[in-house]
């Protein structure tokens, strides 16, 4: 299984590449006034508006640093039953992919109280890598705010 790796602070996290539509460079985002914390704004991808959330804000409480290695991962996000919408994730150090067996990931032992998107961990020579569940990234409130309007269209 191929995973896309990125970093939050000093720690490494992976997303399953099957959920990833594309990896974009750091684009200018249109601010969404009044959006909840963590929503960096919206970008236009091939003419289609895509909401972007800043994972560094959600996990670390500070915005991602503007560097060449900071990228926007376009995720196919299951926004409702039977439908996928694109969701941009602003992450740092999205420069690597790794191939690992899904069975290499085991529970970290401290599941209780963790954000629901953090999954099992795998280890390599540099330490632990945690699997991020793309579908659990948004709280129901943020998900409703981001995708309610699109869902309302015919």
């Amino acid at each position: 299984m191929l995973f896309l790796m990125f970093q939050l602070g000093r720690d490494r996290y992976v997303l399953e590449t099957g959920q990833v539509e594309a990896v974009l460079p750091l684009l200018a985002t249109k601010q969404l006034p009044g959006a909840p914390a963590g929503v960096a704004g919206a970008i236009s991808y091939r003419g289609r508006p895509v909401p972007v959330i800043d994972l560094a804000v959600l996990a670390l409480g500070r915005p991602a640093e503007p560097r060449l290695s900071t990228r926007i991962i376009l995720l196919r996000y299951p926004s409702g039953p039977g439908r996928d919408d694109l969701l941009g994730l602003l992450v740092e150090q999205a420069v690597e992919t790794i191939a690992r067996d899904a069975a290499d990931f085991t529970t970290s032992g401290v599941e209780a109280g963790m954000p629901p998107y953090l999954g099992p961990v795998a280890s390599d020579e540099r330490g632990l890598i945690q699997w991020v569940r793309g579908e659990a990234l948004l709280t129901p409130e943020i998900r409703d705010i981001l995708f309610r309007q699109q869902a309302a269209e015919p």
Binding site: L24, P25, L26, L27, A28, I43, S44, Y45, R46, G47, P66, R67, L68, S69, Q93, V95, E96
Partner: protein, 231 residues
């Protein structure tokens, strides 16, 4: 981008490969293990640091404009397929990416005793795995012309391509590998009648690439043809 706006600086990069590595005095203890700096994880890590630079001016706006433009190449939702483009003699062919396993440097082919078939060249060792090496020119009836074309290009490297289903791998030699090429369904064209009979049975469609027509091989029929030639 002009030199003075380029934020790339070499000040904060420890160029160990120029000091103790292959471009220096070769005193690095890691060289015993990795043989060349390009194999060393430290080298890879320094290379990744280049991506930690701040954004060049205009970078964000330029990419924002690029991705805001609609994709003109074809209607949205159209199937995109990709092939590995390689050359045999004068022919450029495409191998479906799904059955492309590995591209390796050519290596000695050990011939099999009592095997006089032109299609099977012998056995090759790819990282400890012994694979049957078939001759695609013989299978497809393409003349492996000793072409000297491309003299204007500096370097052309023959390669060994490993193909096959998930567990059964087969290798074949090619004169050159271009790389992967993604194309859209509407670019597919019919196979002209001038393509040789053996080749026509496995060439599924033609796609334009670099001003040439590339014959894309059909995965199933190609592997069937290889299987039959081995049996």
């Amino acid at each position: 981008m002009s030199a003075d706006t380029d934020p790339m600086t070499t000040d904060d990069i420890a160029e160990c490969w120029r000091e103790i590595g292959v471009s220096g005095d070769r005193s690095c203890p890691e060289l015993d293990e990795h043989l060349h700096c390009r194999n060393c994880p430290t080298h890879a890590q320094i290379a990744r640091k280049l991506l930690d630079r701040p954004l060049p001016p205009g970078y964000r706006d330029e990419w924002t404009r690029h991705f805001a433009r609609p994709d003109e190449k074809g209607p949205e939702g159209e199937e995109v397929d990709s092939v590995l483009i390689f050359r045999i003699g004068e022919e450029w062919l495409g191998l479906p990416t799904g059955i492309c396993r590995e591209i390796a440097e050519p290596r000695p082919v050990h011939s099999l005793p009592h095997r006089r078939s032109e299609a099977v060249r012998g056995i090759v060792n790819v990282r400890g795995e012994l694979l049957i090496c078939v001759s695609l020119p013989a299978l497809l009836g393409i003349g492996a012309a000793a072409a000297t074309r491309g003299a204007e290009r500096i370097a052309i490297f023959p390669r060994l391509v490993v193909t096959g289903e998930e567990t059964r791998h087969v290798a074949f030699e090619v004169d050159e590998v271009h790389g992967l090429h993604a194309y859209r369904a509407h670019e597919r064209g019919a196979v002209p009648a001038t393509v040789g009979r053996a080749a026509a049975s496995v060439v599924e469609t033609m796609i334009p690439w670099n001003g040439r027509a590339v014959g894309c091989l059909d995965a199933k029929r190609l592997l069937d043809l290889i299987d039959r030639s081995i049996a």
